[in-house]
């Protein structure tokens, strides 16, 4: 920073179409070149960690929806797995595979949105509208499985509230058949497009070493050349039954992040296909009567079931004392849940390790020296989700 120069201060956000969420960047500009940047966040802070300390375990799932709302099922199921870890509940293979199907579908939508938005910010609106139709199809699958679309509140501790219906399975098959064509067309539009490559190669780069130091995880870290993926390193939900490739980039720039996500969509498609083909027979939940709501018909007709229903919803159940840290590979990085239980009806402390909150710190370092239009592309390629950023 040169104090004698007449720099321009520019507010990018809090409500700017290019921030894709409510957060602010105060940029110091020399002409069009970025000299410095400072982020202001917290505009949609909703105190989830405080609320979680006052809610029974059953009522916390809807809070997790609203972290990374582009891939809510991953948050929901990650939370259920955390509680299962605390309780020592072991889920069946069918539950695990069903979870994999939904989490990978969520990853596909998350990546589709992020990648198509990179296209939008570089001037190609067509691809965005085109792949959003596919996202809509995944939301229809969510709707079949859980009844909701965006904030899904999906699954239960121990499994799912209901089995995949025939319609859900049919919709998943249709999606698997249709998406490859769409993806090919989407890639034809951008992947080797001279304009897109010129706009993204070398833009907002970060080295693998700096990325690790900044706590990067997920596609952003892998684009910088570090092959860390929670699904492989600490497999949960039977991910070790499947074979898939972890794509890595080299430069850690916007183009690499785009390519890594694009390849991950293909890998996720294969995972969904394999999990669906090998879906074992059996029950869609394991037997944990203290945490799994009894069937609704019984609640209306049997005393015992009504009591359990009440106890679970109100949190009048025994929870062991202990602390666990569980992390899953979220849409944009390692989503962790640090849970301390003192045996009470609510968690004593629940901390969300939100990947977006941690890696967004690196933004000023990544855009410094670049031009304003590149800063916008860098931000969209980092996949910062406001809900997760502010918790």
């Amino acid at each position: 920073m040169d104090e004698t120069k007449p720099y321009t201060t520019l507010n990018l956000g809090p409500t700017h179409p290019a921030t894709h969420g409510i957060f602010q960047n105060v940029l110091t500009l020399d002409g069009e070149q970025i000299v410095d940047a400072e982020q202001t966040i917290g505009y949609i802070h909703r105190a989830f960690e405080k609320i979680a300390e006052h809610r029974p375990y059953y009522q916390i799932t809807p809070l997790t929806d609203r972290l990374n709302y582009c891939s809510s099922p991953i948050n929901n199921l990650g939370w259920h797995m955390t509680v299962e870890k605390l309780l020592g509940v072991k889920t069946s293979k069918r539950v695990d595979y069903m979870r994999i199907i939904l989490m990978e579908l969520a990853r596909i939508t998350d990546h589709l949105v992020c990648n198509s938005v990179i296209g939008v910010d570089s001037g190609a609106l067509t691809g965005f509208i085109y792949v959003f139709q596919e996202r809509e199809k995944v939301y229809e699958i969510y709707e079949e499985v859980s009844g909701a679309r965006l904030t899904t509140n999906m699954g239960r501790v121990g499994g799912f509230e209901r089995d995949f219906s025939l319609k859900a399975v049919k919709k998943i098959h249709e999606f698997l058949d249709h998406l490859p064509n769409v993806l090919h067309e989407f890639e034809k539009l951008l992947l080797r497009n001279r304009i897109f490559m010129d706009r993204t190669i070398g833009v907002g780069p970060i080295s693998g070493e700096r990325a690790l130091n900044y706590g990067f995880t997920g596609p952003n870290l892998r684009a910088a050349g570090v092959d860390y993926d929670v699904r492989v390193m600490s497999p949960y939900s039977s991910y070790n039954d499947f074979e898939f490739t972890i794509p890595v980039g080299a430069q850690g720039d916007t183009y690499d992040r785009f390519c890594v996500r694009q390849e991950e969509i293909w890998q996720s498609l294969n995972l969904v296909r394999n999990a669906l083909e090998n879906l074992p027979e059996g029950n869609f939940h394991v037997d944990v009567p203290q945490f799994y709501l009894p069937p609704k018909e019984e609640v209306y007709s049997k005393m015992e079931a009504l009591i359990w229903h009440f106890k679970i919803v109100m949190g009048e159940i025994e929870v062991p004392v202990g602390e666990v840290f569980h992390s899953v590979e979220g849409g944009n990085g390692e989503l962790g849940f640090y849970l301390i239980s003192d045996g009470g009806r609510t968690p004593f402390r629940l901390h969300f390790r939100r990947p977006g909150f941690i890696y967004y710190q690196a933004y000023p370092e990544m855009i410094r020296g670049g031009v304003l239009s590149d800063a916008i592309l860098t931000m969209s390629s980092m996949n910062v989700i406001a809900g997760e950023l502010d918790a």
Binding site: L212, N213, F325, S327, R353
Partner: protein
């Protein structure tokens, strides 16, 4: 990487400053005295046998009934050996100060600001210790246990019977 190896190395380097060890949790955890927290984290990060180069998580916790009520919990990860480690340190309410680790991990910067914001734990030598998610003029630390979730003077709302 075996637990016993880490335990040996850590006890050799910081014998009397390790107050508690827990091998029964999901992750091997240590409670260390607050004055040495920076040295412990630095040792774990930079020692060539330890190599915990990744700070997964940093957060605060408040146990109002304990002698040292405020705590900071660090989750470290050795990516090469895929080993996780939990380090805790506890401090008093009157003197809530620990050394920052933002010089070791750039990622700690905002996580420490968040911990300060919610628990009022002061990270000494932090480059920019100010509130991050809450408004700057807030004069209390909302995640401490004594602060109620909702305004207790409200009469139009009685949540006692709704699992809260």
């Amino acid at each position: 990487m075996e637990n016993s190896f880490i335990i040996d190395k850590l006890y050799k380097a910081f014998g009397q400053d390790i107050l508690r060890m827990d091998t029964t949790s999901d992750i091997l955890s240590f409670t260390v005295a607050s004055p040495v927290i920076h040295e412990v984290i630095q040792f774990l990060k930079e020692d060539e046998n330890m190599n915990f180069i990744f700070l997964t998580d940093l957060c605060g916790v408040h146990y109002p009934d304990r002698g040292l009520p405020l705590g900071v919990v660090y989750h470290l990860h050795n990516l090469r050996e895929n080993k996780r480690l939990r380090i805790k340190t506890f401090i008093t309410l009157n003197h809530p100060k620990v050394a920052t680790v933002a010089d070791l991990f750039s990622s700690a910067n905002w996580m420490e600001r968040e911990t300060y914001d919610f628990y009022g734990i002061i990270f000494e030598c932090h480059p920019n210790l100010k509130r991050i998610l809450n408004v700057e003029y807030m004069d209390f630390f909302p995640m401490r246990k004594e602060y109620p979730l909702e305004d207790p003077t409200r009469e139009d709302k009685d949540d006692r019977y709704f699992g809260r």
